[in-house]
């Protein structure tokens, strides 16, 4: 039966992401208008089912769905709730202070999410894929092949042009490579980073953060929190690292609790999963979670560099980048899904033109970049481009001011006294700092400053004051069933690996060895071990009594944190084989 010719499509989508699936959806809509234009699409997804490797907040502006999926309500897109009340809260170690909505609206309007959709993105992506499977049946001029369980593992070039991706591992290129005239990368950097590097497209290095998230079933008698949204600053991330928590009330008395922590932290031991447990020990959350049951756990990294980290080009010959591959998350407004879908929507228009003209050159595809940069969804993204700079140039904001404010919240129930105290300590300096931060954060439209991020995390000196970490520790009373250690948490990520997993490369054992010794000498944990979200990295004692790096890959949730925090850049997380990995459906 099997042909010996190449496996070839007009368009290959790498990753069943919101961006790529909306690209396919929009292409299908366009193709209806011209039945004579025939073309084929292949959708590769590393998870065994579409959506299984998707983990996100997510509170999304409905306008993007109205635009790209105008019938989404009639088509039963899964919507958990529509936000009816959003809070921006300062978390002390004892108390929580909800910023009065008047102040939030004036000073941090991005945190006002009323009217937005609260989504379980894994389910939405699964819905998007199913929609596509149904709708393509009515468009005979388009062929879409779905490949869940098939990950692209390598970019294939011919004469500096992307011509496809390597997928299978039979050893025979003819059977292993999926060729395409246009390859669309909607991945989280697994492969797109290689193209960005090869063509030297990086402007600023991408800053990544890690998000850890749990879904809980609340007790029957508890208050229904459906539609409520909290974004919190403060406890438990008090070590000067940029981070925050989110709590979303879902339907059927379910609750999402998560924490996003930036990986460019000076703290080499972030312990994301552990910090999430600390978060839940807060008295307010303890009350909310009384009698609740953990349903799911998961983790993923988020590109936080924002506008300043966008690559020089959004396309090369034969390929374009979308969504997370570009880094379209606006960390200030906590929104990325809208821009990801918009990127798919706009890419579809350009891809359609490219198919019609049979021209997939960079010159033709560059319309995509122009269109995306002009999109109204990008206005806010651009406006918020100094968010990271504001914290980057003034580390005191998080390291010194925040703890003082929190102390005030704990003692007086509000941050006012702490703020006044800060102001009185050094009025001129503090006023200047406040004005500067306010300008960068909220009034940056007219600013024309350069943004430069520190390059990579290579060779970070593990010199970090442990006292800062100690402040996270909480010895308060807490219900034991609200807190899970990392070994147990993995169970709730439903990881499954069929084959002997081999998806994380460790390039040099010696590098690991010296890294371990460097950190041991400072009495710190090795970052890959401490920051792993799923009990993968560990230290083993070798035969000659030396500590060596080991991995339990069968636990891996494929968040890629280890690769990003490895101070020696000695690890690479590859997409796994055969649909293995976590199952985040419902998270």
């Amino acid at each position: 039966m099997h042909n010996t010719d190449r496996i070839e499509y007009d368009i290959a989508l790498v990753g069943g992401s919101p961006s790529n699936l909306s690209l396919a959806h929009t292409l299908l809509e366009k193709a209806k208008a011209n039945p004579d234009l025939k073309f084929s699409i292949a959708i590769l997804e590393k998870a065994k089912d579409f959506g299984s490797h998707i983990v996100s907040g997510a509170v999304v502006n409905p306008s993007i769905f109205n635009k790209v999926y105008p019938n989404h309500v009639a088509d039963n897109m899964p919507i958990e709730a529509i936000c009816n009340k959003s809070y921006f809260s300062i978390m002390g170690t004892e108390k929580k202070w909800d910023v009065p909505s008047l102040i939030t609206r004036a000073a941090a309007p991005d945190f006002c999410k009323e009217g937005y959709y609260i989504l379980t993105l894994s389910q939405v992506v699964s819905w998007m894929a199913k929609q596509l499977m149904e709708k393509v049946k009515d468009v005979p001029n388009v062929k879409i092949d779905f490949f869940p369980g098939f990950a692209a593992t390598e970019v294939v070039y011919e004469a500096e042009k992307v011509v496809g991706v390597k997928v299978d591992r039979t050893g025979n290129d003819q059977d292993d490579i999926l060729y395409a005239k246009l390859t669309c990368f909607g991945d989280k950097g697994f492969l797109s980073k290689d193209i960005i590097k090869k063509f030297n497209l990086e402007t600023n290095p991408q800053i990544w953060s890690v998000g850890v998230k749990e879904t809980w079933k609340l007790a029957e008698h508890s208050e229904d929190l459906k539609g409520k949204v909290w974004h919190t600053l403060g406890y438990p991330t008090l070590d000067g690292t940029l981070g925050g928590g989110f709590i979303y009330g879902l339907q059927n008395k379910r609750l999402t609790i998560g924490l996003v922590i930036s990986l460019d932290s000076e703290n080499p031991n972030i312990h994301p999963q552990k910090q999430l447990q600390e978060y839940k020990k807060h008295p307010w959350l303890q009350k909310v979670l009384e009698g609740a049951e953990l349903m799911h756990y998961g983790a993923a990294v988020l590109p936080e560099g924002g506008y300043a980290s966008l690559p020089k080009k959004f396309q090369v010959d034969g390929a374009i980048f979308l969504g997370d591959a570009l880094g379209l998350l606006d960390v200030k407004s906590l929104a990325g899904v809208d821009k990801a879908i918009e990127s798919g929507y706009l890419a579809a228009k350009v891809a359609y033109g490219a198919v019609a003209a049979d021209d997939f050159s960079e010159a033709r595809l560059s319309k995509y970049q122009t269109k995306l940069l002009e999109s109204p969804y990008m206005d806010k993204f651009k406006e918020n481009r100094y968010f990271r700079k504001a914290f980057g140039e003034n580390p005191e904001l998080l390291r010194d001011y925040l703890p003082t404010v929190l102390e005030s919240v704990d003692k007086t129930g509000s941050p006012y006294i702490g703020s006044v105290k800060l102001g009185l300590e050094n009025p001129v300096k503090r006023a200047k700092a406040a004005l500067r931060a306010a300008q960068l954060l909220n009034n940056a439209k007219e600013l024309k400053e350069e943004v430069t991020y520190k390059a990579g995390y290579l060779h970070i000196d593990p010199d970090f004051d442990k006292d800062l970490i100690a402040r996270c520790a909480s010895d308060k009373d807490f219900a034991k069933n609200t807190v899970y250690n990392r070994e147990d948490a993995v169970f709730y990520a439903n990881t499954h690996y069929d084959e002997h997993p081999d998806h994380i490369d460790e390039f040099s054992a010696e590098t690991c060895l010296s890294c371990i010794q460097r950190y041991e000498a400072k009495n710190l944990d090795v970052p890959c071990v401490s920051d792993c979200t799923a009990e993968v990295h560990r230290l083993d004692i070798s035969d000659n009594n030396v500590k060596v790096h080991g991995m339990s890959l069968e636990n891996c949730v494929q968040c890629r944190t280890c690769e990003l925090v490895c101070p020696e850049q000695n690890l690479r997380v590859n997409p796994s084989y055969a649909g293995s990995g976590p199952d985040f459906i419902g998270l």
């Binding site: 039966m1 099997h2 042909n3 496996i7 292949a42 062929k143 092949d145 779905f146 490949f147 369980g149 098939f150 997928v167 299978d168 039979t170 059977d175 292993d176 999926l178 034991k480 069933n481 807190v483 899970y484 250690n485 147990d488 169970f491 069929d498 084959e499 084989y577 055969a578 649909g579």
Partner: protein
């Protein structure tokens, strides 16, 4: 290897999903309609063996997956194609309902004979799983080899093919045995053989292609026949052809009802919790 081209057949069956709860009909047979479906896990090893055997034969060797079952069983044939089978054949007929192993092996034998005839020559190798998860008899494979007069290797863990011979390692009580047999041969594959690899990219593409194609095109790769097509006698099939009588089937009650999860604590604490109230274990832990 300079082997001749091999015609390889693999017998597979769709069974109730082992993870779902199957009902029992009043007559004691399994209510298959209610349960989820899956490829018999034992047959997955046989399919991998067939695909491996193809590589040992000449360049025009081919694998045909054969099944007998109700129409939804077509899913496992598509699955076989995704994994790299070249062709599939299904015997589907209401008159086959409630067949025991004797009737099943008869019907499958007729189906294989039909395939041999269509192909213009008898097969070289037939692979079967050890047994099915819904019948657990392990009889059908050996019965077919007797009917077809093929040499027979059971409980095979590993094998190679050279010239006209199979060299196989099979499990026997207390050890393993190395045997050789002349082709044509029927081999039942033990579940200590290689696990079925993930489907291939080309196979997954191919199946999506044929599912979109016309009925005629589909029939080229997924052929469905009934008892008349393979000249099977009705009286030797189904309930009529089955001397086995299932006198009674009953539920053995809920298995594993009171499972308590212990988690979220240190190992010593967890052990303490588990052994609490179990004197035998408490004694053991103290030691």
């Amino acid at each position: 290897m300079n082997n001749k081209d091999l015609d390889i057949y693999v017998l597979i069956k769709q069974v109730p999903d082992t993870r779902s709860k199957a009902g029992v009909n009043p007559d004691g047979t399994i209510d298959r309609a209610k349960a989820g479906k899956m490829l018999n896990p034992f047959d997955a090893y046989a399919l991998q063996a067939a695909l491996n055997a193809k590589k040992m034969g000449g360049p025009n060797s081919k694998v045909t997956a054969v099944t007998m079952g109700p129409p939804p069983a077509i899913d496992i044939l598509y699955q076989a194609l995704e994994h790299g089978a070249d062709n599939t054949l299904m015997l589907s007929d209401r008159r086959l309902a409630a067949s025991d192993t004797l009737a099943t092996s008869y019907a499958l034998c007729q189906t294989l004979e039909y395939a041999f005839k269509q192909n213009g020559r008898p097969g070289d190798l037939i692979f079967c799983g050890l047994q099915t998860t819904d019948g657990d008899t392990a009889q059908v494979g050996p019965e077919i080899s007797e009917r077809l007069d093929f040499t027979q290797i059971t409980y095979c863990e590993d094998f190679s093919i050279s010239d006209n011979e199979v060299h196989a390692k099979k499990i026997i009580e207390g050890g393993t045995q190395l045997v050789k047999a002349q082709l044509p041969s029927l081999i039942t594959i033990a579940n200590s053989y290689q696990k079925l690899k993930f489907k291939t990219l080309r196979g997954a593409q191919f199946v999506q292609d044929i599912k979109r194609s016309s009925k005629e095109e589909q029939a080229k790769f997924v052929e469905i026949i009934d008892l008349d097509a393979c000249h099977a006698e009705e009286l030797r099939c189904g309930l009529a052809g089955s001397p086995t009588i299932v006198s009674k089937t009953w539920k053995i009650g809920v298995v594993g009802g009171n499972c308590k999860m212990h988690q979220g604590k240190s190992v010593p604490d967890l052990v303490g919790e588990v052994v609490q109230g179990l004197p035998i274990l408490e004694e053991f832990v103290k030691i």
